[in-house]
Amino acid sequence: MKIIPIRAAVRSRILAGLLLTVTSIAVYAQQESIVLDPSTGNFIITYQGLDADDNPKWQQVTYVPPTKVNPDVRSWFRPSDNSIITYSYRVHNRRDSKQNLEGFGIRANDVDPSSQTTPNGWSGFVTPDGASVGTANRFIVAWSFDSDDPYAGLLPGRSVDGFTVKSSDIPGVGNARLRGATDSIGFPDEGPGDNNPVYPEFKKVLANDHVPRKVAIPLIYVPSPFDATLVLSGIQKHIDNSLVSMALIDPAFAAQLDRLIQAAANSVRLNNPKGASEQIKDALKLLRKEHEDMDKDNGDRDNDKDDKGSDDKKSKSALIDRLAARVLDFDLRYVERRLKTKDDK
C-alpha cells in the first residue's frame, strides 16, 4: 500500500517531465533560427511567416547554397596586338564537388563587351557594373550554363575551356565567382522579414552564394595615349592594396618591388626610358628568382601548366604567389615593351 503512492508520485513526475519535455520541444521548435546541417551543407530556416490568408504561421524552408563545388580556374593573358590583351579561362569542376558547376564570372576594369566568347552550352554577358554610381569602366563579365534545369552544369571531374574576353587593361589578380547548380530558394510566403532575428544571418549566407577563386583579371588601367608613369603607379597600387591584402606576396618583398617600380616611374618622369627599363628588369629578376620556371616568353599564350590560382601550393621559399608573379611579370614586361615603342611616351 505504501508503494502505490510512490508509484503515483513517480508516474506524476514522469508525466510532468514528459509534458515539460514536449513543451520544451514545442517551444524550441518555434524559435526563429537558421541552422547549418553539417551532414548536407544545407541551411534550415525557421521563421514566423504567413499562411495563405496572411495570418501568422511558422514556416520552415531549406536553402541549398550553390557553394558545394570545388573548382579550379586557370587563366591566360596575351597581347593580341600592341594594346589589346586577351584573357582566357579554363574552368575545372573537381571530382569531389557535390554539385555541377553552372556559373563563372569576374568583375573587371574596362573590357570590350563584344569580345566575349562563350563555350558551347554556356551563355554570357558583359554589362557595366554600377555605371550610374560613379564607378564607370567597371564591368561584370559573367557566364552561366545555358539550361532551364537548375541542376544542370559542368559535371564533377570535367573541364571547360573557351571563356575569353578582351581588354586594353593589363592584368591584376582578383576573385572569380563560381557557383554550383541548385534550385533557388523558395518561400511559401514573402520569406523572413528584416525584423526577423534570422534575417541578418540569412542575408550573410545569401551574400556568400559563390565560391571565390583567384584569377588574372583586367584590373590595371592603361590610358590611351600610353602613360608609363600612370601604369606603373597602377601596378604599385595593385601590389600594395590587393596582393598584400590577399596575402599573395610577402610585405617585405612587396616593398622591394615597390621601390624598383617607383624608381622606374621616376626615370620615366625624367625622360630616361633606358633607366626605367633597367629598373624594370631588376624587378623582373626579383620575380623570376622566386619562380624560375615562369614563362619567359611574353609573346604567345602564357601557358603556365601548374598555375591553379589561389590553390597553388607555394613553396616555402616563394615570397610571391605564382599567379601573382606571372601577372606582375607580364605587366612589367608590357610597360618595358611600350616604353621602347617610339610613339609612346
Partner: protein, 625 residues
C-alpha cells in the same frame, strides 16, 4: 511704424466717442478676469520720463529701432535709449505733438504755428529740424500728420479752402501735399496710417456714420465696408502686409476688426456680451499682425488672444497703471501712456523673448529646416537649448518636446486616416519616452533621442518652455527620416514595364539605389536579348519614395499590413512570375531559372516567393547585398 491716431479726438467727434467709451470703462473689471490667456512672455517696462521741468508725457509711436515719439507736456518729443527724451520744439507756436516716426528717425505730427495760425502738420528730421508741411488751404488752414513710411511719405488730414471740411492728404518731398479725395457721399475724410507700399488707411465721415477706407496708389480710395450689424467703422493702422485694424460700432459697442484683402473685414474676437473691449480701439499693428490699443492698454495676437498689459508682473510690480497702448513695432515693443506715482508718463514695454532652439548636440543641423537626416528605425540624438535676447543660453528651463509626423511625407499618408496606427517614432530623454517628453535644460541644454519609426517621413519636433516661462521656437525643427539617394526607375523602357500598387502611398513604389537600379535595368536588357519573343519583365514594387517600411494597408483593407517588410533600403524589387495569374505578362516557368542566373551573375538573388500561391507568387529579387 503705425501711428496712434484717435479719430475720435478730431474736433466734432468727441461726443460720439464718449458714448461708447463709457461703455468700455464699465467692463474694465471683467477685463482683469479674462485677460489671462495670452502667453506669459517676460517683459520689461521703461518709464520714458518727462522733459526738463515737465510733469507729463505720452508716447504715440515707435519705430523698429526702438525710437519713441509723443508729447511731453506741451511739446513733441523723441526718445531713444541712448539719448533719452529730446524736445523737438514747435513750428513757432506754443505746443506740438509727435504722432509718427519711420525707420530713418523722421518724425511727423502737428504743431501750432504763430498766432493767428492753427495746427500745422510737421516733418522733423535730425538734420533739418521741424519743417512745416503746410495745409491744403494755405497758411490759414489747419492740418495734422499721423503717419510716415520708410520712403518719407506722410499722411494726415488738412482743412481745405473755406476751412469747413477735412481731406486726407499724402505728402512727399517731391510732390508736396496731395489731396486723396473722399469716398462718394462723404463730407470729410482723414488719413491715419500708411505702410511701405504707400497704402493709406483712414476714415470718411458721412451724415450719420463713418466708413473706413483704404487708398492705394493704383486703385485710389476703397470703402472697406462694415462688420455685419455695424453702423459705423473707422480704420487706424495698416501693416506692411496690408492688414488694417480699426473698429466698428455695433449697438454702440466698439467691435475691433482686422481687414485684409484676402479675408475682408473680420471681427477680432468672439464678442460675447460685449466684453471684447480690450482692443476696442485698435491703435497700431505690426508686421506680425499683433495689435495694440484700447483705453485700457492691451495686446492682441491671433495665436495668443488678448493680453491686458496691466496684468504683467513687470507693470504691476513697478506701480504702473497703463492707460493706452498706442503703437507696437516689429520687435513687439509697445508704447503708450500710464500713471505712475500719480503722474502720467510715457512708457516702453519690451518683451524679453526667450527662444528655444533644437540642434544636433554639436549645435549643427542639416539646414535651416532639417535638424538631421536618418534612416528609418535608427536613433538620432538632439538637444534643446533656451536662449535670451542676447543669444546667451538660459540655464535650468523646463521644456516640453513633442514629435509628430507630416501627413504627406516620406511616400506615406501619415497618419493612416483609417486606423491612425502607422508608427510615428518616439522621443526619449533617458528617463521617459513617448511622443511628448519633458525635462530641464540644466546648464547646457536638454539632450534627447528621437527613435525614428520604420516608415519614412518628415517629423517636426515642437519645443516650448513650461513652468511659467514662455519662449518661441526658432530654427530647424524637422527630422528627415528616409533612405537618401534613391532613384526612380524610368517608366519608359523597351525591356520592362512598371506594375504594382500605389493606392496607399502618394508617391511611386519603384525607388531603388542607383546600383540596384542599374542592376535591374541590366537584368531586363539581358533577359530581353536572350528571350526577344518573351514578354518583357514586369517590375512590381521596389521601395517607396524614401524607402522605409513598405506597408499596404490601403491595398489590403487591413490595418498596417507589411507584405514588403524587406523593401526598405531600395535594394529589392518584386518581379512578376505567376504563370497562373499572369500567363502572358510574366516570366514563364521555362525562363525563370535563366532569369535567376542573370540575377546571380549580377551579384543578386532572385528568390521565389509565395510559391504555388496563385494570387501572390512572384520573384523577390535582392539586387545588391
Amino acid at each position: 511704424m503705425t501711428p496712434t491716431p484717435f479719430v475720435a479726438r478730431i474736433a466734432g467727434e468727441s461726443e460720439r466717442m464718449k458714448t461708447y467709451r463709457n461703455s468700455i470703462l464699465s467692463t474694465v473689471l471683467w477685463i482683469f478676469l479674462t485677460a489671462t490667456c495670452h502667453a506669459q512672455t517676460t517683459w520689461t517696462i521703461i518709464n520714458l520720463g518727462v522733459l526738463p521741468g515737465g510733469r507729463a508725457s505720452s508716447a504715440n509711436s515707435i519705430n523698429n529701432s526702438g525710437q519713441v515719439v509723443g508729447r511731453a507736456d506741451s511739446d513733441a518729443f523723441l526718445w531713444s535709449s541712448g539719448s533719452g527724451m529730446q524736445d523737438l520744439g514747435t513750428l513757432g507756436g506754443t505746443q506740438s505733438t509727435a504722432r509718427g516716426i519711420n525707420g530713418s528717425g523722421q518724425v511727423v505730427g502737428n504743431s501750432l504755428v504763430p498766432f493767428p495760425g492753427g495746427n500745422h502738420a510737421f516733418l522733423w528730421s535730425s538734420g533739418l529740424g521741424m519743417q512745416d508741411l503746410g495745409t491744403l488751404a494755405g497758411d490759414m488752414g489747419v492740418s495734422d500728420a499721423y503717419g510716415i513710411n520708410n520712403s518719407g511719405q506722410v499722411v494726415g488730414w488738412s482743412s481745405t479752402v473755406g476751412g469747413s471740411v477735412q481731406r486726407p492728404f499724402l505728402w512727399s518731398s517731391g510732390s508736396g501735399m496731395q489731396n486723396l479725395g473722399t469716398l462718394p457721399g462723404a463730407s470729410d475724410c482723414v488719413a491715419s496710417g500708411i505702410n511701405d507700399s504707400s497704402q493709406v488707411v483712414g476714415t470718411c465721415f458721412f451724415s450719420s456714420f463713418r466708413h473706413a477706407f483704404l487708398w492705394s496708389p493704383g486703385s485710389g480710395m476703397q470703402d472697406l465696408g462694415i462688420l455685419p450689424g455695424a453702423s459705423d467703422c473707422q480704420a487706424f493702422g495698416i501693416s506692411d502686409n496690408g492688414q488694417v485694424v480699426g473698429f466698428c460700432l455695433i449697438s454702440n459697442f466698439p467691435r475691433p476688426f482686422l481687414w485684409s484683402s484676402g479675408s475682408g473685414m473680420q471681427n477680432l474676437g468672439p464678442l460675447p456680451s460685449g466684453n471684447d473691449v480690450l482692443v476696442s480701439e485698435p491703435a497700431g499693428i505690426n508686421n506680425s499682425g499683433q495689435v495694440v490699443g484700447g483705453v485700457h492698454a492691451a495686446l492682441w495676437s491671433s495665436g495668443s488672444g488678448t493680453l491686458d498689459l496691466n496684468t504683467l508682473p513687470a507693470v504691476s510690480s513697478a506701480g504702473w497703471s497703463l492707460g493706452t497702448a498706442n503703437a507696437i513695432n516689429n520687435a513687439g515693443q509697445i508704447v503708450g501712456s500710464g500713471t505712475i506715482n500719480g503722474q502720467l508718463h510715457a512708457y516702453l514695454l519690451t518683451p524679453v523673448n526667450h527662444v528655444i532652439k533644437l540642434s544636433r548636440p554639436d549645435g549643427s543641423s542639416i539646414n535651416d529646416t532639417i535638424l538631421d537626416e536618418i534612416e528609418p528605425g535608427k536613433t538620432t540624438t538632439l538637444i534643446a537649448r533656451v536662449y535670451d535676447q542676447n543669444n546667451q543660453v538660459v540655464p535650468n528651463v523646463d521644456v516640453q518636446l513633442e514629435v509628430k509626423v507630416k501627413e504627406h511625407s516620406g511616400g506615406h499618408l501619415h497618419p493612416n486616416i483609417d486606423t491612425r496606427n502607422r508608427p510615428e517614432g518616439y522621443l526619449s530623454n533617458g528617463v521617459t519616452a513617448g511622443a511628448i517628453v519633458s525635462g530641464n535644460t540644466g546648464s547646457a541644454g536638454l539632450l534627447f533621442a528621437f527613435v525614428t519609426p520604420d516608415p519614412a517621413g518628415d517629423h517636426p519636433i515642437t519645443a516650448k518652455c513650461t513652468g511659467g516661462k514662455t519662449c518661441t521656437q526658432q530654427g530647424p525643427d524637422t527630422v528627415w527620416v528616409g533612405i537618401k539617394g534613391l532613384v526612380t526607375l524610368s517608366s519608359v523602357s523597351a525591356t520592362y514595364e512598371l506594375v504594382g500598387f500605389t493606392q496607399s502611398h502618394p508617391a511611386d513604389s519603384h525607388r531603388l539605389t542607383p546600383k540596384s537600379s542599374d542592376n535591374i535595368g541590366a537584368a531586363a536588357t539581358i533577359y530581353r536579348s536572350r528571350f526577344p519573343t518573351a514578354p518583357i519583365l514586369r517590375l512590381n514594387d521596389a521601395s517607396l519614395e524614401r524607402g522605409g517600411l513598405f506597408d499596404s494597408s490601403a491595398h489590403t483593407g487591413k490595418p498596417w499590413q507589411i507584405p514588403h517588410e524587406t523593401h526598405r533600403l531600395g535594394k529589392e524589387i518584386d518581379v512578376r512570375w505567376n504563370p497562373i495569374k499572369w500567363p502572358d505578362t510574366g516570366i514563364s516557368d521555362n525562363n525563370v531559372v535563366k532569369f535567376q542566373k542573370i540575377i546571380l551573375d549580377l551579384g543578386g538573388v532572385a528568390q521565389r516567393a509565395y510559391v504555388g500561391n496563385p494570387n501572390n507568387q512572384h520573384l523577390h529579387v535582392i539586387l545588391e547585398h
